[in-house]
Amino acid sequence: MSALTASPAPIDFSQTSQVKMSRLFRVELRKVTDTRAGLWLLVAIVGLTLLADVIFLFAAKSSELTYENFAAVTATPQGFILPILGILLVTSEWSQRTGLVTFTLEPSRGRVVIAKFLAVVAIGLAAVAIALALGALFNVIGAGVAGGAGDWDLGFAGARDFTLLQLIGIIQGLAFGMLFMNSAVAIVLFFVIPTAWSILFGLVGFLEDAAPWLDLGTAQQPLFDASHSLSATEWSQLLVTSLIWIVAPLVAGVIRLLRAELKSA
């Protein structure tokens, strides 16, 4: 650009390419880790996974100290925090109003949503990897120090169920975040709705039979089961409840996010 040009040449956009999806993905992944809140949640995931294994090492009978069990005890603490990460990745764009920048640098909101989705899946998989790695470590420790059984039997089905469980959780978090666009509301509803729902099914007799088809928690029970052999009916129940609790909020959340107006102060 030369100085003092009154009418510069028309801009040729063919030289600039669209922002690559891999770039959007890396930026979204970094946004999970580069704030204090995000960093502490990640630390908490690793810490609680470790803590669960330590407690199990001392509390369980030596015959129970197997790889499968060491991996399984980390599912619940991780399942508490992963969804919060998913929620905050979206709601912070509104609560911290960073969406003004995010959706200005990438006006295609759909692509930002896809990048966020990929980012939470990557985090979910990383959490599972950490759980399996720590589980292996503690299985060795358990066998060596506490005289544990030390069985390595986890198998494909066990790893699959464990991964599925965590991914469902974090994706549900992302969906709730998009749907409610408010950290507090999304987090509270994420934890209150399933509990309220379970109580309802427990109290109302005729609903009890329907629970596996309507309640995600009930439908997920077989995933915790040591046999890891879901029947066709159980798979269907998992699918139907996931449609209700994950896919439906996800679709509604995406629609809301695509249409939402971003306001400045």
Binding site: L4, P10, F13, T16, Q96, T104
Partner: protein
Amino acid sequence: MIEVDGLTKAYGKHLAVDGVTFRVEPGTVTGFLGPNGAGKSTTMRMMVGLTPPTAGGSTILGVPYSKIPNPGTHVGVLLDASAQHAGRSGREVLHLGAMLMSLEERRVDEMLELVGLSDVEAKRRVGNYSLGMRQRLGIAHALLGDPQVLVLDEPANGLDPAGIRWMRGLLRGFAERGGTVLLSSHLLHEIEMIADELVVIGRGKIVAQGSKDELVSASGTLVRSIDLETLAVALKQAELSFTRTATNSLIVQSTGEQIGRAAAGAGVVLTELRPAEGAGLEEMFLQLTADDARDEVPS
């Protein structure tokens, strides 16, 4: 180049922005002036696709903003300096932008230096920044991708007088290199210092636009009287057109002599009679502000 054509935004029955049309040419710094709530921010958000317009449209560099590939490298946008994650450091905010726009990390250091944020300040979390520091960070973010166009909403808000002068130099230099600048403000004096073209908005509508010199000079004669009503009648009879201001004076589109004759004919005592100069723009602006009745207008 920015072209805004009939942009309209309705919230229910309320028209926040009503058929706004203007152009911003390359090589100029255009001020978008209006009282709080006049529709400046809504217009700017519509221009960059964050708020869907009810009607009308706009283009930047000849295309709608959403069609610009990697838009940060063509259009620098600052809509709200406080809209940054409080838990992120200033440097990290710029780093994320550079990552997304595919820029070298060197750019982050250059921009921090340009806006005068030290290494220590850049490492602090944005939540601890003053408004002035956030504005500087926001300017750095807008300039990061070396754009040809700048769209800045209230960028001088929170800057001290030295900071405003610094921004004037920065934006003028940007325009002299062929860049296009649109910046908004609700303060007339601030915009008079920085901009050379003006677009004035009030209650969603454009009420004046043109070069600052034009708007400041072409404003007739200011007249005050102990009996403003009789004077108004006399001016009407003499077929002189005038507008009433918020500060008990009239701006008349004619010479002092014509007004003096009309007043003498009606026997009205004048207390002031002078070229309006900048008063026209200022009066218009005060009027806009007074109508919105948010603040007391000093009289």
